[in-house]
């Protein structure tokens, strides 16, 4: 039984996969408030599937990039649960989950990029091939700098249509696709280190 969740966007998304299929999903009712919503949503998917924490064999978690505060809620939850249950953490770049969903649902046919909201009028962005395999490390920058006329998956395209006119597919990561991708071996599995992409010094100077 694989528990999957992502907190790298304003939405908290949780799913449970039994090795064959996704058996329960839950999405936060309100934006943000990751710290309040994540644990009850995990409890909810376990209850829905009639599972106990002890039934879990692994935890898949989106490691960002994404707003830091919410991201850390997901990562500390994954690390702590994995420690208690003695199961592995499968870290996945949150943009990869969006890419997989876009490919599998037919939203894109050729190469494309994924762009998510990085706040402060910037986006996180990475490029993918037609199968949804990431071609480079994600970057953070102004939409105008990263602008492309090609297909763009993710919330970034909706927020900055002048830079990304060809918006496609899902807007925010969905833990159901995160779980499916991990079970099917479709992702490059990372550790549980957050992809901050920004130094804390910069954050301190902005405050």
């Amino acid at each position: 039984m694989l528990l999957a969740f992502d907190t790298a966007s304003s939405t908290v998304t949780v799913a449970l996969h039994d090795g064959t299929e996704v058996v329960a999903v839950a999405t936060s009712a309100q934006g943000m408030k990751h710290g309040e919503q994540l644990a009850p949503l995990i409890e909810q998917v376990l209850a829905e599937a009639g599972a106990q924490p002890g039934d879990l064999t692994g935890i898949a978690v989106g490691v960002g990039p994404g707003p830091f505060t919410g991201l850390r809620v997901g990562l500390v939850t994954a690390r702590t649960m994995a420690h208690v249950l003695a199961v592995p953490v499968h870290g996945v770049c949150s943009l990869d989950a969006l890419a997989l969903e876009a490919v599998e649902t037919g939203a894109v046919a050729g190469p494309f990029v994924v762009a998510s909201d990085a706040r402060r009028k910037e986006v996180y962005l990475a490029s993918y091939d037609a199968r949804g395999v990431r071609l480079d490390e994600p970057v953070v920058d102004k939409p105008a700098v990263l602008a492309t006329s090609g297909p763009v998956v993710g919330e970034g395209a909706r927020l900055y249509p002048e830079a990304f006119p060809d918006a496609r597919g899902p807007e925010r990561p969905d833990a159901a696709w995160l779980a499916r991708g991990v079970v099917a071996g479709r992702f490059t599995i990372l550790g549980s280190e957050p992809l901050y992409l920004r130094r804390p010094d910069a954050v301190a100077s902005v405050r």
């Binding site: 809620v73 702590t80 649960m81």
Partner: protein, 354 residues
């Protein structure tokens, strides 16, 4: 002894720059693991919230592991999880609260979201046994300076009544700022304490905040340290302008005396006015040697008993959170819900998240 009398509780504290995980059984301290990011903040001269939050994430699981190893207990044996859910730095608190929920959820154990300030008072139970109720608590640290009348440490029925607080800087903040003026490292408290031992505490007559008769009418039990900090800065600048060397030890000793004098005077006045015979001093500044000595000396003359935990328990740590959680369990208080928030401005009167 039943589990409820002597519950095994793990407490998590992340309100500022220390990642603390403590384990207690009843009033017995089993482990107090602390990872600090203070070195990373030193070059900024204060705590940078984002740096602290990042450090909490990295330190959390290793610190939990270290606490369990030290206590010789398995997580599965823990009866309850307690966590600071406020007040403090929002992003820092969230890491601890999320970790505590993950523990509670995966272990199937109750969670108690508790108040950081009340935990500073509760920690004394690990050193001196059950807290006398009522007692008067003087809490002084880099983030807080409060006088609390404590009739029930779990906060039931208005069990914590704030009698006074700082109206500007916290006492510990004043120590940090004066240390900086004197070229001493951050955090300033221990360095001022050390420098002051070589100095004369009556060398310079620095002002005692909110101590005039008119101030006492409105702010009898409140503190103010910003005027003192300015007075020290002016004095040091005047010295430097005149080309004379700054007598660091004398400035440190006189400043420290001004802070400790007003803290002790107001705490004993509050205890006297409330008819309370036990004074508890907690928070990082309670580690100050002069504050301890002055409180002992003046309280004994008034027949007031003073309880100060050892310095390691005065600074922020997980054991204090576990100590308060243990009292919550022992007194049958209802655990917090799993959607409990982190509340950066949690009032001291709210001791347990409901």
């Amino acid at each position: 002894m039943t589990t409820r009398d002597e519950p095994l509780v793990l407490g998590i504290e992340t309100s500022c720059d220390e990642t603390g995980v403590g384990i207690v059984r009843g009033h017995t301290l089993l482990a107090d693991a602390v990872a600090s990011s203070v070195e990373e903040h030193a070059r900024f001269g204060g705590v940078v919230p984002e740096v602290a939050s990042r450090a909490h994430l990295e330190a959390m699981v290793p610190t939990i592991q270290r606490a369990c190893d030290t206590a010789g207990v398995a997580l599965a044996d823990v009866d309850a999880i307690a966590v600071t859910h406020g007040p403090g730095l929002a992003g820092a608190l969230l890491v601890g609260v999320a970790a505590a929920k993950a523990l509670a959820l995966s272990l199937g154990k109750p969670i108690y979201g508790v108040n950081h300030l009340a935990a500073h008072v509760a920690v004394d139970q690990l050193e001196h046994g059950p807290l006398p109720e009522p007692c008067l608590a003087l809490l002084v640290s880099g983030g807080h300076s409060s006088l609390l009348k404590v009739t029930d440490i779990t906060g039931a029925d208005g069990g914590i009544d704030p009698m006074g607080a700082t109206i500007d800087d916290a006492a510990g903040e004043a120590f940090d700022k004066v240390a900086r003026l004197l070229g001493l490292p951050f955090p300033g408290g221990p360095h001022i304490d050390k420098a002051a031992r070589e100095g004369n505490q009556v060398a310079i007559d620095f002002p005692r905040g909110l101590s005039t008769r008119r101030d006492l009418e409105r702010h009898r039990f409140d503190f103010s340290f910003s005027g003192l900090k300015t007075a020290v800065a002016r004095w040091v600048e005047a010295r430097e302008r005149s080309g004379e060397p700054v007598p660091v030890a004398d400035v440190a000793a006189s400043f420290q005396e001004a802070v400790c004098d007003v803290l002790v005077r107001k705490a004993l006045d509050a205890a006297g006015s409330a008819g309370i015979e036990d004074l508890m001093i907690g928070g990082g500044v309670a580690a100050n040697s002069r504050l301890r000595a002055l409180a002992e000396e003046r309280a004994s003359r008034l027949g007031i008993r003073v309880r100060v935990p050892r310095p390691g328990l005065c600074t922020d740590n997980g054991a204090m959170v576990a100590a308060l959680g243990s009292t919550m369990v022992a007194r049958g208080r209802t655990p917090s819900p799993l959607d409990l928030p982190a509340d950066s401005s949690l009032p001291v009167t709210e001791v347990l998240a409901g």
